[in-house]
């Protein structure tokens, strides 16, 4: 089986020979999909280059080929030459976009183009006015400069935000310089691993990371963990023998970035850097296109929408203005005003801030976001393809069940166990615990007495570690118990015996017998037993009891657990006196007719937070797919225990078993769950895979290689899903890149995986993904609110221009004033909306459909523009007319006065009462009008901010004071307005004037109306879901 399985892996990774015959077409298509046509050649090269011959060569042939000597190594000079030729032994990091390009992108992206156009128009009209010798051409120059500054400053800000979040990641990608032990100039030298060259002789030992692809020439008990390459978690032994044609299967090659688990070895470096197998896979990953994040698409859509509105209204009114016989120059100035009024200058910066706030919040919850936009992607995720080991599980073996006295007991497998609740009164348990304690070579590393038991570091393999910790939890100081039961002989576990045995003195001073304890594969242990312990008494092992053992063994095995059998024998004192010389080679002691005591089964248990997280995903409409290299039974067991396969659902195989019919006869649609083996997956066509993904809601992919993940991800994406994928190995990087959001493991993840991912899970915990989803959904909702809030006042800024052109009234609001709203009073409130709590049901609804549920939908635009925006405009105009009327210009007088009003030569302009005004007096009044209009918009924006807290619930359900930041926003808004009005009211360039206090309150009734109206809207939406009102008014 192992051999076969390995073939699968190699096929997936490298598309090697055996596959080429059968599935070339398919494979090519996959690569095409991955990298586009031009990259196909590279993929072909990849296959060719992999025809490594080095594993077939003898040591002397190798020495000749690489011009090296196994004893002396390369000379330093030669090594330097090769280093100069091949480059350092490190992976080329993925090409980063040059900083300047990133910066320029910010300068021209989004609304910047529109504002640049506005600035250029301003300068053009400045030029024309200057040429005409007009009186105040500098206004337009300043306006152009201000617009350009706005673009540049918001650009710098966005760039800075982006860079800041990238920097968090930079700290991650910094690798700790690795050392390698090299023989050069006939001396052993410690070198930095990136200095290695082909032909170097390196020595590795247990715990080292393999510094390059090496062909072993000497090995002793060497085992490597190839999991990052093949997904196979069992360490594989390595020797100098050529065992397989395929370079990936042969034992005499160790690969770059895998780890040597135990033993020592010496080898010749045959490939370095990007030419290593891992290097090639990593470069494959960089070929996978980076797709636009959903939020980027949404923002683009929104920018198009607003820009479309701005340009069409601008052009429309430009034409109207020209046909009303205004001067072209004036019309251009109107056009600039309309553009500035329409473009929410501060919004993109606000969005960036909101996203980075969420990113920060997520970082606190152990989701480190690399790309700001990925924050939201997680929220729209509809399928999560999760690893099992380490993500869903605790990544450590733990005793899960015990069987003694003919009964199965469950053990606590939670992360922070301190006691075990099962019944420990039976004398059989006492015997069993003794075997568990004594027949165990694992030990705690010293100096960890203060750590919780489960967190201590243990020297020993996974099973023994589990048993040691289990014993320590129940019995206390295991080392002390072992010391009191001195070990006199020991046979360690080996694959031929499949048992482990040790002989101890007992801690009972009166009992001079030796205790022989043994553990191992249950069937092998049982073979060696003639009795079985029941309630502390030895009873003969008859067929009935053997049957009971079989049942228990099957049951535990069926739960995907690793089962160990335990037996013991007190050696008779007369035959084995104190001084008896135990000899493990000749085995001069009994190893049969022992007494069977019990079974212990172990599993890598699910993290305790995972089942809850999975059920949250389920209620949030997110499909969780488990993708693991583990055995299907174990995978299924874990899937069941965490709820990925729910208790009631069945696989095709389950149904077949229940109905007692062959698998082929089962109606596949009846099965909600599916466990797909990697080998089956390999033979599947894309249609078959799609069918599985479509028809089953609960899917586990077992025995898959990390490479098959890519196929699974692509399958999911074909269903239109937004796919999140977790991964840690280098081989996961193509899948991580391909996924809409790649999530790398912070603890277990390789650097390549972290590089390819959009997000790093600091605690490797699946539950953190779910909190990430929650944050992502929340920010999507909150961005909606922010945008709705920001767009609303754009109408109140736009209407003045339109009315100004149509009704020829004095200008109600200035372009500079608009910028002060967009980039001054409105900024903090719109960021404050990012702190808004969810409206109750965030994790109970389906993920948004990325085609239908837009960030800025029609309802949002219409409600903001045509309803609240218009209300705001009305309120602001009332203030405007009030200010003019109370100064002597009744509304009737104002209509149609624009040309005279703005004429510099008219200095006896008559108002409604017969008084006469100079131009400057009129201008000053106009600025007072600007200020009043500005203040009214600000006051109404306070109401707008409050109503935007919720989209469906009443503000009183949401709590007016729960989000304190909103109040910071409100106070900042009013504060900034006060400063502008009274503090800077005398700086003429800003066009603000001090304002009579009562004008602050003119718009208050309209603000209240906005609030009341929105409450009514929400009430109807809640009362009549699905109604016409709901459809048109809910955004």
């Amino acid at each position: 089986l192992l051999q076969k399985k390995s073939n699968v892996y190699s096929v997936e990774i490298y598309g090697t020979k055996d596959l080429e015959k059968t599935e070339t077409g398919d494979e090519e298509e996959k690569y095409k999909d991955l990298k586009g046509n031009n990259k196909k050649k590279k993929a072909e090269d990849l296959k060719k280059e992999l025809d490594l011959e080095d594993h077939k060569l003898s040591t002397s042939e190798l020495e000749e080929k690489y011009g090296t000597s196994t004893n002396k190594g390369l000379s330093s000079a030669r090594a330097a030459e090769i280093l100069a030729r091949d480059g350092p032994n490190s992976l080329t990091p993925p090409k980063a976009t040059p900083e300047i390009i990133k910066f320029l992108k910010q300068m021209v992206g989004g609304f910047s183009i529109l504002l640049w156009i506005g600035a250029v128009f301003s300068w053009i009209s400045f030029g024309i006015q200057l040429a005409q010798g007009s009186e105040s051409p500098f206004d337009n120059l300043y306006l152009g400069v201000v617009l350009a500054l706005v673009v540049i400053l918001t650009g710098i800000f966005a760039y800075y935000q982006e860079a800041k979040s990238t920097n968090i990641m930079a700290s991650f990608s910094k690798m700790i310089p690795q050392q390698a032990l090299v023989i050069r100039d006939a001396e052993k030298k410690e070198l930095s691993a990136d200095q290695l060259v082909v032909g170097d002789i390196v020595e590795i030992k247990g715990g080292d990371r393999i510094p390059a692809d090496i062909r072993l020439i000497f090995a002793q008990g060497c085992k490597v963990d190839n999991s990052s390459l093949t997904g196979e978690s069992e360490p594989q032994s390595r020797s100098c023998d050529f065992t397989h044609e395929n370079p990936l299967e042969t034992r005499n090659i160790a690969f770059y970035s895998t780890t040597c688990v135990e033993g020592t070895a010496t080898g010749i470096v045959i490939n370095t850097g990007d030419r290593t197998v891992i290097g090639r896979i990593a470069s494959l990953a960089s070929g996978v296109g980076n797709e636009k994040t959903p939020i980027a698409i949404e923002i683009e859509h929104f920018v198009y929408l607003v820009a479309g509105v701005a340009i069409s209204i601008g052009v429309l009114f430009f034409i109207i203005s020209v046909s009303m016989q205004n001067k072209i120059l004036d019309s251009i100035i109107f056009l600039i005003g309309i553009i500035v009024a329409n473009v929410p200058e501060g919004l993109l910066a606000t969005v960036t801030v909101s996203l980075s706030l969420t990113a920060k919040r997520m970082a606190k919850k152990n989701c480190l976001v690399k790309n700001l936009e990925a924050v939201e992607t997680l929220g729209s995720t509809s399928i999560i393809c999760s690893d099992k080991t380490g993500t869903l599980t605790q990544n450590r073996m733990t005793v899960a069940h015990l069987w003694f006295d003919n009964q199965i007991y469950s053990a606590d497998t939670s992360e922070d166990q301190t006691t075990q609740p099962f019944d420990q009164s039976s004398p059989s348990w006492t015997a069993l615990s003794k075997i568990v304690t004594l027949c165990n070579r694992a030990e705690f590393s010293p100096g960890q007495e203060n750590l919780p038991i489960m967190k201590r570091v243990v020297v020993g393999d996974a099973s023994e570690t589990a048993l040691l910790k289990f014993a320590e939890v129940i019995l206390g100081d295991v080392m002390n118990i072992r010391a009191r039961n001195k070990k006199v002989a020991e046979i360690p576990f080996n694959s031929t015996n499949k048992f482990q045995l040790s002989i101890h003195e007992t801690d009972d001073p009166k009992d001079k017998r030796f205790l022989l304890v043994m553990k191992g594969a249950p069937e092998r242990i049982l073979e060696r037993c003639s009795t079985i312990m029941i309630n502390g008494k030895e009873e003969p092992l008859d067929s009935e009891k053997a049957e009971a053992f079989q049942t228990a063994y099957m049951e535990l095995g069926g739960m995907g657990e690793r089962v160990l059998g335990f037996c013991h024998l007190y050696l008779p004192e007369n035959e084995f006196p104190d001084t008896y010389p135990f000899d493990t080679d000749s085995m001069n002691f009994p190893t049969s007719n022992l007494c069977f005591v019990g079974l212990l089964s172990m599993i890598d248990p699910p993290r305790s937070t995972v089942p809850d997280a999975v059920s949250k995903c389920r209620s949030a409409g997110i499909k969780v797919i488990m993708v693991t290299g583990d055995h299907p039974i174990t995978a299924k067991a874990i899937a069941k225990s965490v709820g990925i396969i729910s208790a009631t659902s069945e696989t095709v195989e389950d149904i077949a078993k229940r109905l007692n019919i062959p698998v082929e006869q089962v109606n596949r649609r009846e099965a909600t769950a599916a466990v797909v083996n990697g080998m089956e997956l390999k033979d599947m066509s894309l249609q078959q895979l799609d069918e599985i993904l479509c028809n089953h809601s609960e899917i586990v992919f077992a025995r898959t290689s990390p490479q098959q993940k890519l196929i699974i991800v692509e399958g999911c994406q074909r269903q239109g899903a937004v796919v999140a994928v977790t991964g840690d190995g280098v081989n996961d990087s193509p899948a991580l890149k391909k996924a809409d959001i790649g999530i790398a493991m912070g603890i277990a993840g390789s650097d390549a995986a972290k590089n390819a991912a959009d997000m790093v899970l600091l605690d490797d915990n699946f539950a953190s993904i779910v909190t990430g989803v929650e944050e992502g959904r929340l920010i999507f909702d909150n961005l909606k609110k922010t945008i709705a809030y920001t767009l609303t006042k754009n109408i109140a800024e736009l209407c003045p221009f339109l009315i100004y052109i149509i009704a020829s009234i004095p200008m109600p609001i200035g372009t500079i004033t608009i910028l002060f709203i967009d980039l001054g009073t409105d900024i903090i409130p719109s960021v404050a909306l990012a702190y808004e709590k969810a409206e109750s049901d965030i994790m109970n609804r389906r993920p948004r459909n990325k085609r239908k549920d837009r960030l800025v939908n029609q309802q949002l635009a219409v409600y903001s523009y045509l309803q609240i925006g218009i209300m705001q405009s009305v309120g602001a105009f009332v203030t405007y007319f009030t200010v003019y009327a109370e100064q002597g210009f009744l509304p009737s007088t104002l209509l149609g006065v624009r040309v005279d009003w703005e004429n510099n030569a008219i200095n006896d302009f008559e108002d409604s009462y017969g008084q006469q005004w100079t131009k400057y007096q009129r201008m000053y009044l106009q600025w007072t009008g600007y200020t009043a209009f500005f203040v009214s918009i600000t006051i109404q924006q306070v109401a707008d901010l409050i109503i935007r807290k919720t989209r469906r619930n009443s503000i009183f359900q949401q709590g007016l004071f729960r989000n304190k930041v909103i109040w910071v926003g409100i106070f900042s808004q009013i504060g900034i307005a006060l400063i502008l009005t009274y503090g800077l009211g005398h700086v003429t360039a800003l066009n603000f004037t001090p304002l009579r206090f009562q004008y602050w309150f003119v718009a208050v009734p309209f603000a209240i109306l906005i609030w009341v109206y929105d409450e009514v809207r929400k009430l109807f939406i809640r009362r009549y879901p699905g109604s016409w009102w709901d459809k048109n008014m809910y955004y």
Partner: protein, 254 residues
């Protein structure tokens, strides 16, 4: 999609917006009405934006305040003349029958009187610039008249003895004559009570006759008129070039 949305407007939506905007329009009208109710029809609520009057001249050339004319070409100053004539029409004696003769040199306070009387401004006070003797207001003789007036401001009571004084930067090019003499503005024309209460009000005028030196023809003469002699009438505002002063240019050819 926004436009698509507009096309998809169903009747119900149309009705909704009809009602919605109807309501807003009504609300707007109502608040405006309420606001207007708080205003008096006689005087504006606030007059702080025009605490001090501006100066203006008549005739006012279309292009900036620059007079260009040829004293021997009647066509070249016809527009100025007709403007002046038109401007002085309201000062005609026949139009001033209701106006009373007020006591010169004193503020004519009528706060307690319901019907505010207007003081008579005799055109004869403008002397050679009254248009009576010289129908061309001196333009044909090279002594063009320009009327300087002070902007009407309700309730303004000038202090001291306000008078208009015009000076030219270029000395010796022009000699300025004032009608009434010394460019005095009589206090009896103040205060002004507003259009509705003070319907027949005529603002006092000062005629400035510029006797342009015969060897200064063809030259552009810059003239600045200021209001002097009254502490509460500003004439040196940095930003407002017309507050209590006015600058214009005259260029005469022969």
């Amino acid at each position: 999609f926004f436009l698509n949305g507009l096309f998809f407007f169903t009747g119900l939506i149309l009705l909704f917006y009809l009602v919605f905007y109807g309501f807003l329009a009504a609300l707007f009208t109502f608040t405006m009405w309420v606001m207007l109710q708080t205003l008096s029809s006689d005087i504006p609520k606030y007059r702080d934006r025009i605490s001090s009057p501006g100066l203006m001249i008549s005739p006012k050339p279309d292009t900036a305040l620059e007079f260009y004319f040829n004293k021997s070409d009647a066509q070249s100053y016809a527009e100025y003349v007709s403007t002046l004539r038109k401007f002085l029409e309201s000062y005609d004696d026949s139009k001033q029958s209701q106006n009373i003769n007020c006591t010169p040199g004193r503020i004519f306070d009528q706060n307690d009187v319901a019907v505010k009387k207007a003081c008579r401004f005799n055109l004869s006070e403008l002397g050679q610039c009254s248009g009576k003797e010289d129908k061309t207001f001196g333009y044909s003789k090279g002594t063009p008249c320009v009327l300087v007036k002070m902007n009407r401001i309700i309730g303004l009571k000038p202090e001291g003895e306000p008078r208009i004084q015009c000076t030219s930067k270029e000395e010796g090019m022009v000699e300025v004559n004032y009608f009434p003499p010394e460019g005095l503005i009589d206090l009896m024309y103040f205060p002004y009570y507003g259009k509705s209460l003070h319907a027949h009000y005529l603002q006092p005028l000062v005629a400035v006759q510029l006797a342009i030196n015969s060897n200064s023809t063809k030259e552009e003469i810059a003239i600045e008129c200021k209001i002097l002699g009254s502490p509460n009438l500003k004439n040196e505002d940095e930003r407002d070039k017309f507050l209590g002063r006015i600058a214009f240019k005259v260029q005469m050819t022969e």
